[in-house]
């Protein structure tokens, strides 16, 4: 097992960065997977709203309390730059200023421009909060028109607006339901291809390149070791690494899931297994071109980030235009994400379609392996011709 031992020795030098990727991925995934529930129950989006209460009266406090019932009130950021940054990066959805004199204006029936808000872009959140404030003021004015005092009108308006509305979620995810595979846990599987591509290509490609270095390969070829044994040991080394990594990711998944997987999660497990095979096939394919270690790192980033952005790993597929989706079909990650979306209930579940996605993934893996075998054959048959020493007569 000399080749296998050497394979592992070279692999050891890359394990540090592989583990960093895996640890960071898990550290980010755990809170994501823990949040959210499997229940298909509607909840309104809770917005992060920053309120500057310059009026500081019981009326303005009542308004802040009303807004805070269904949204999170962010502590005041006094620095305008911070507000701009947070609005730009959408960490704060709305920044409301209640100016001095708000309560007097409300009492006198003045409704125009009684609030100000910091604007960065016309987002859905902006429209929603503006509507909410308009409705609140309308309600107060209506109760006052009905003869109530301001404080009483404020209480009644808040109460009238707080009544529950019956909102149901349409379930197109299939008869068996989807309680075994919450969408929050689906995110864990959704981000997995990026980690698989980053770690498998950067580690496996460099190890395979080292093992196939011309001088080493020729030395091995002229040794007593049979070529089949060499190939099998390389295959075994690659399999140990790839399977080990996959098992770590699945093991972490089981911990996050809180027990052995159930139901459709097994579909996602199979899906991820197919994708790690594809990642390995890409690594073997790239190793054929003997790039330098630095170039391997750059190739890894282009392939992993490119596929992640185009195929709906970082940005949901629905957000990308239909033309992008058409182009993404030529990449294996697209089929992985599509199958995962159906399995976790983000898209209508169809067992036939999921199976088709997985078949396409398997097709990608087979095609990559075939191309690599042909390239390998051409490369080494040519090389053996060029180094053959003519026998002197």
């Amino acid at each position: 097992m000399k080749v296998f031992d050497t394979f592992m020795k070279v692999l050891k030098t890359k394990l540090f960065s592989v583990m960093i990727y895996v640890v960071v991925f898990l550290a980010i995934s755990i809170p994501m997977a823990k949040n959210g529930s499997a229940e298909k129950k509607f909840e309104k989006s809770s917005l992060n709203i920053c309120v500057f209460d310059n009026d500081d009266t019981p009326e303005s406090h009542a308004l802040v309390e009303f807004i805070g019932k269904e949204n999170e009130i962010i502590p005041e950021y006094t620095n305008e730059d911070d507000i701009l940054d947070l609005l730009y990066y959408e960490s704060v959805d709305f920044a409301l200023i209640i100016d001095k004199g708000y309560s007097e204006k409300l009492a006198s029936g003045e409704t125009s421009d009684i609030f100000r808000y910091y604007k960065v872009h016309d987002s859905y959140s902006t429209v929603y909060v503006r509507q909410l404030l308009d409705r609140y003021v309308n309600g107060v004015q209506a109760y006052m028109a009905g003869g109530m005092e301001l404080s009483e009108a404020i209480d009644h308006s808040a109460e009238a607006m707080s009544q529950e509305v019956e909102v149901s979620m349409a379930d197109f995810t299939g008869k068996s339901g989807n309680s075994d595979f919450p969408t929050s846990f689906g995110a864990y599987f959704r981000y997995m291809p990026y980690i698989m591509l980053s770690t498998v290509i950067s580690a496996l490609c460099i190890v395979l390149k080292a093992m196939n270095r011309k001088d080493i390969r020729y030395r091995t070829n002229c040794s007593s070791m049979r070529p089949n044994s060499f190939t099998m040991q390389i295959f075994a080394g690659s399999a140990v690494f790839v399977l080990g990594l996959w098992l770590i990711l699945m093991g972490a998944g089981i911990v996050m899931y809180g027990g052995i997987f159930r139901g459709r999660v097994w579909g996602a497990v199979l899906n991820s297994f197919l994708f790690i095979i594809i990642s390995a096939a890409i690594a073997v394919f790239a190793a054929n071109f003997s790039p330098s270690n630095t170039v391997v790192n750059l190739i890894t980033q282009v392939v992993s980030l490119g596929m992640s952005f185009l195929c709906g790993i970082f940005v949901p597929l629905g957000m990308l235009g239909s033309n992008i989706e058409k182009a993404a079909r030529f990449l294996p990650a697209y089929w992985y994400v599509k199958a995962n979306e159906m399995l976790c209930g983000n898209q209508a579940y169809d067992a036939g379609k999921v199976a088709m996605c997985m078949l396409v993934e398997a097709g990608f893996a087979v095609a990559l392996i075939m191309i690599t075998l042909v390239l390998n054959h051409l490369k080494f048959s040519k090389a053996s011709e060029s180094v053959a020493v003519p026998v002197q007569a």
Partner: protein, 376 residues
């Protein structure tokens, strides 16, 4: 001696074609992919557009009709409606042609497919309709004489909010992915920086051994190597910005020369970081490359390369980190140029990048100097 060393450093860099070509191809390939992926996301997703809704009337509701028609007539209507039967409505919802279905049966109820802002806006409309109905019914019950006043107050068109624009810059926040792409190219400059130490440490390469035996003072050869790497990385950064601005037409605002300056300084910071890590201890090249790649990618992740609102999260949880993360400093400098009209914050970022570069170079020199080898 300096110029001689610099000349050969530049020649060596140019001849290390694979790294240079990849440092050039890398942003072009990823930039193009980003442009394809994000071409219309801001227009279709972040910016507000009308919420499409189906309405199913179990019992005819002329008041609802009137309300929905008046909304539809508004210039920037927040919702558009289609009156259909229940089966067709479910079909439209399943095929994502509408965001939700409003069922009118006296009171209104709602069915949606996904949780999200569109569903929340529809819920808000239904709540509003039901609460107004409640207010009118209360008025009719308690004080019928005031009914007209109450109805008039409820239907009065109010505009309670006045906007305070915070910036005249480009507020498309997807552009930050391109800022972070440039930051990543800058961070990958650390690989160029690493080559300085590979060529100057006798235990890492044959060239390093030869350099250690040569009569050229180490300080001169290292400074020349650093200058050469800065020039090469600077060229890659300039090419990256040029491609994004003039080929992909990314809007960096009106202060393009400063965008180039920030990118160049980012490249210098990246090279300096690589030089420092390369000088550390007597680790193998592979270990140093692994450290640099991992650190670079973590810095880029925390700067928002993979998750768009990551910088906002950092501002809330650990704002100091954005002042020391080189990737965040590079992307923030472009952001400041685009969003802020003054130069205060931009200068803060530029100075931070310069300070980080100086610290890395100084530490690298301290670690590299007086390094002796027992035998070569």
């Amino acid at each position: 001696m300096f110029w001689h060393c610099l000349k050969y450093e530049l020649l060596t860099s140019i001849r290390a074609k694979d790294l240079i070509i990849w440092l050039m191809i890398f942003p072009i390939a990823l930039g193009t992919l980003f442009k394809i992926a994000f071409g219309s996301v801001y227009e279709t997703q972040t910016k507000f557009s009308t919420v499409k809704t189906a309405v199913v009337e179990t019992t005819p509701d002329p008041v609802l009709h009137q309300v929905l028609d008046s909304i539809g007539e508004q210039e920037d209507a927040f919702m558009s409606v289609k009156y259909v039967d229940e089966d067709e409505a479910m079909d439209l919802l399943k095929n994502e042609k509408v965001e939700g279905i409003i069922f009118a049966d006296g009171e209104l109820s709602l069915t949606v497919h996904y949780k999200g802002m569109n569903s929340t806006i529809l819920t808000s409309f239904v709540e509003n309709y039901n609460s107004q109905r409640k207010i009118i019914m209360e008025a009719a019950k308690n004080d019928p004489a005031s009914l007209n006043d109450v109805t008039a107050a409820l239907s009065a068109e109010v505009n309670t909010c006045r906007e305070v624009p915070l910036t005249d810059g480009n507020t498309d926040n997807l552009i930050q992915y391109f800022y972070n792409l440039i930051a990543m190219v800058a961070m990958f400059g650390s690989l160029t920086g690493l080559h300085i130490t590979i060529n100057n440490q006798a235990n890492l390469s044959a060239v390093g051994s030869r350099n250690n035996c040569s009569p050229a003072p180490k300080s001169v050869s290292i400074l020349a190597a650093l200058t050469g790497s800065y020039i090469v990385q600077g060229f890659c950064m300039a090419l990256c910005v040029t491609y994004l601005r003039f080929v992909l037409k990314i809007d960096f605002g009106s202060r393009l020369p400063l965008v180039y300056a920030a990118a160049l300084l980012g490249g210098i910071a990246g090279v300096s970081m690589g030089f420092f890590v390369g000088s550390l201890n007597r680790m193998k090249i592979e270990a140093k490359t692994s450290i640099l790649m991992s650190v670079s990618m973590i810095c880029c992740f925390l700067s928002g390369l993979m998750v768009g609102n990551m910088k906002g999260v950092i501002i809330k949880k650990a704002p100091w980190f954005n002042h020391v993360n080189p990737a965040a400093l590079v992307s923030d400098s472009f952001y400041c140029l685009n969003i802020y009209s003054d130069y205060r914050r931009f200068m803060e970022k530029i100075i931070s990048m310069a300070v980080i570069s100086v610290i890395f170079v100084a530490l690298g020199i301290v670690v590299s100097r007086r390094k002796k080898y027992e035998s070569l």
